[in-house]
């Protein structure tokens, strides 16, 4: 199976990478996206590429950086694999990219950080900066933090802070069930949720703490029966993919009366899989969603939908591109080290509120929305009658969590 997947992946990647020949213009600023572009989950990487391209082109149309230089987005297919990532990273660097974007999988993120630490030490004049916009393992901004890594997504602890802020405000929740996948990410969520619930709502009882093998469960009915038996009011779950969709869908089918606090239910494919089972029950946390009433992002979402026939999701990439461009303008160069020094102290006001990078660990903080799936919203997702509706918001400051990062600066 794997062998064939790799074969097909290679063929697809070859196609994807050869067709749009990137212009070898010395004046462009290359942004390399290293993420999975093939295989069953390739659509996520594809969506990331489209988002990055979309925002880069917008910036280019608005004048680019450093008085007219343009961003040039080039995608490299790492097949979601850490080893392949290194190969593609080297290729990207050889092609002249000094800025690397990546999102899927913290294992891949770790590999990139390790590689760049060495690479940048050996080639100080050719250093490369890593913009992580979706890998959520807290370790990347704690024990493994790096000067060359910036995280522009809210990590596990920050998202959990936003979710527990919401639970804190909801007196109907008295019993919480933790339901996560059995690997580093699921365990990080479980640890953070247990601690934060204890701090914010000591009266809440944690009635279950489940860890399931990653993407192995085919039937969720026993878990639903188990959750029901505990009398839980809410389930916190960082499951993704089938493990999430199947869980919530089965719960809906069997009439389990709980609120689902999820980390990814708003991702692509979520509402299609969940359907009416999720309405009023499934909560998600994000920096933006389609029904945030704000004119510029609404217009962007409309343009994006027309161009790519999919819903705008990675709003944060707009902030990233804008802040990166501003750092370059302020540093008057595209040299990653100079840009990183500007970027790490940057505070930036988006239409949604104040955002800032914390210099100590290079974690970006932004307002976070907790939203619930609803059939009564103006903007629907994936051509279904469903979308997400804001139920709560935490300002950037309210989501800040401590770090153990001791950064080695060049």
């Amino acid at each position: 199976m794997k062998f064939a997947r790799i074969l097909a992946g290679t063929a697809l990647a070859a196609l994807a990478l050869t067709s749009p020949a990137p212009a070898q213009d010395a004046s462009t600023v290359k942004l390399a996206l290293i993420d999975g572009q093939s295989g069953p989950n390739g659509f996520i990487g594809e969506s990331m590429r489209q988002h990055l391209q979309f925002f880069a082109e917008r910036k280019n149309a608005a004048g680019g950086v450093l008085g007219g230089r343009k961003f040039d987005v080039v995608a490299f297919d790492n097949k979601f694999d850490p080893q392949e990532t290194i190969v593609q990273l080297q290729k990207a660097i050889d092609a002249g990219a000094r800025y690397v974007f990546h999102g899927n999988s913290s294992a891949v993120a770790g590999a990139i950080v390790d590689f760049l630490e060495k690479h940048n030490r050996r080639n100080p004049d050719k250093s490369v900066l890593y913009i992580n916009f979706a890998a959520l393992d807290p370790v990347l901004t704690n024990d493994k933090c790096s000067f060359w890594h910036f995280r522009f997504d809210a990590d596990v602890n920050i998202r959990t802070a936003a979710i527990t802020n919401q639970i804190q405000k909801d007196p109907s929740i008295k019993k919480v069930y933790l339901f996560n996948q059995d690997y580093s990410f699921g365990k990080a969520v479980r640890a953070a949720a247990t601690q934060m619930l204890k701090d914010k709502r000591p009266d809440i009882q944690i009635v279950g703490d489940e860890l399931i093998p990653l993407q192995k469960v085919t039937d969720f009915t026993p878990y639903i029966a188990k959750i029901r038996a505990t009398g839980a009011d809410a389930v916190i779950s960082a499951n993704w993919g089938n493990d999430l969709n199947q869980l919530v869908k089965t719960g809906g089918e069997l009439g389990l009366p709980v609120k689902w606090f999820t980390y990814f239910a708003n991702g692509e494919g979520g509402v299609t899989a969940l359907g009416a089972a999720g309405v009023g029950r499934v909560f998600a946390v994000s920096e933006w969603h389609m029904n945030v009433p704000e004119a510029t992002s609404e217009k962007m979402a409309e343009e994006f939908g027309k161009k790519f026939n999919r819903d705008l999701f990675f709003y944060r990439l707009n902030t990233v591109i804008t802040m990166l461009a501003q750092s370059m303008d302020e540093a008057k160069t595209t040299d990653p080290k100079a840009v990183a020094l500007k970027l790490e102290t940057m505070a930036f006001k988006t239409p949604l509120g104040d955002t800032y990078v914390r210099a100590q660990d290079h974690q970006f903080y932004q307002p976070l929305y907790v939203s619930v799936m609803s059939d009564d919203v103006p903007k629907k997702l994936e051509k279904t009658p469903f979308g997400f509706k804001t139920v709560g918001m935490s300002a950037a400051k309210e989501t800040e969590v401590p770090t153990t990062c001791k950064m080695q600066r060049p």
Binding site: M1, A4, A8, P40, G42, F43, D182, E210, L211, I212, P213, Q215, K216, V217, T218, D219, T221, P222, Y223, A225, K226, R228, A229, G241, N242, N245, Q246, K249, T250, E253, L254, G255, E268, G269, T272, A273, G275, A276, E382, T384
Partner: protein, 316 residues
């Protein structure tokens, strides 16, 4: 406690019966042709997608008939014009052939219906709680699945054990050459079995799609479990497949409820927890945590202890 027991049993049986519907075709094909049909789970997925498409345009009842028919026909043609030619080059070629088919189906489904899945829902006619089991409303659709699966088993079993064609199929399972010499058209029997197997996989897809999430990933998740069922039950044995399916369904369901670990056991026999913490993580892993991998453990034990499976007549 009693409530959970009753619900878990019902859940386990229904899941087991769905597994059986898939495994029955697979085990017959495997037993008869010696071919592990790697495309079987993909046919299940295709069945779910066809079920979605047909119910969207005509209705669920037509989907229930047309979906399996289409897949059955497709399966028969696949055997007649593909597998039969490959057959003479040996098992490895056949295996690779079915593998290729699985890949084709996967890619075709992604091309036609996209990569994020489709909203295939329980049909409104069956979307209501049928009865209350203690406090829990139980969905009618699941009971419908159960009834249908039981009917399929009874039907298949009757055909295999009572009818003339069943006699020939059973004979062809063990002595294909002899059956051929007696003047029966063995290749045609193979084609029939392959077609029916594909049709059953399609039927399982049509009725399983609304319960599970209909997405391109659904084949991968179930494929491995299916092979486990076939091996545990014994190659070519229908009652074996039934028993293995139910066993796996029930074991998984009940294991999930058991939050006990080795650590509890060690404490229970009076060993001090700190002094006895020699096994590390394993000591604290609960049975619930390993529930989804228990079928594979059963597979390993079965292969070691009884390679022919529960009711199989020959070794794997």
């Amino acid at each position: 406690m009693l409530e959970q027991l009753a619900i878990s049993t019902l859940n386990g049986i229904i899941y087991g019966m769905l597994l059986f519907m898939l495994a029955s075709g697979l085990t017959l094909i495997f037993g008869m042709m010696g071919v592990l049909n790697l495309a079987h789970a993909s046919m299940y997925m295709l069945g779910a997608y066809l079920g979605y498409q047909i119910s969207k345009t005509i209705g669920f009842l037509p989907a229930l008939i047309l979906g399996p028919l289409a897949l059955g026909l497709g399966g028969a043609l696949l055997e007649r014009y593909g597998l039969r030619r490959v057959h003479q080059h040996g098992h490895v070629s056949e295996l690779l052939f079915t593998f290729g088919v699985a890949f084709m189906i996967q890619e075709a489904v992604q091309m036609i219906w996209g990569r994020i899945g489709v909203p295939y829902r329980v049909p409104p006619e069956l979307d209501f709680p049928l009865f209350r089991l203690f406090d829990t409303p139980y969905p009618a659709y699941r009971i419908f699945v159960l009834v249908l699966a039981v009917a399929i088993f009874v039907g298949l079993f009757a055909i295999l054990s009572r009818s003339r064609i069943g006699l020939v199929i059973r004979a062809a399972l063990t002595h294909p050459n002899m059956v051929g010499m007696l003047g029966h058209n063995v290749p045609q029997v193979f084609m029939l079995v392959f077609g029916v197997g594909a049709g059953l996989a399609g039927l399982a897809g049509v009725i399983g799609g609304p319960i599970f999430v209909t997405s391109p990933n659904m084949a991968g998740a179930l494929g491995a479990i299916l092979f486990t069922v076939v091996v545990i039950g014994g190659l070519g044995s229908l009652p074996g497949a039934l028993l293995a399916s139910l066993l796996i369904g029930l074991v998984q369901t009940f294991a999930v409820v058991m939050d006990v670990s080795l650590d509890d056991f060690i404490k229970a026999i009076g060993v001090d927890a700190k002094a006895g913490n020699i096994l590390g993580d394993i000591q604290h892993t609960t049975i619930a945590q390993i529930a989804p991998i228990l079928p594979y453990l059963m597979l390993l034990v079965m292969l070691v202890v009884r390679p022919r499976g529960l009711f199989g007549s020959r070794d794997v």
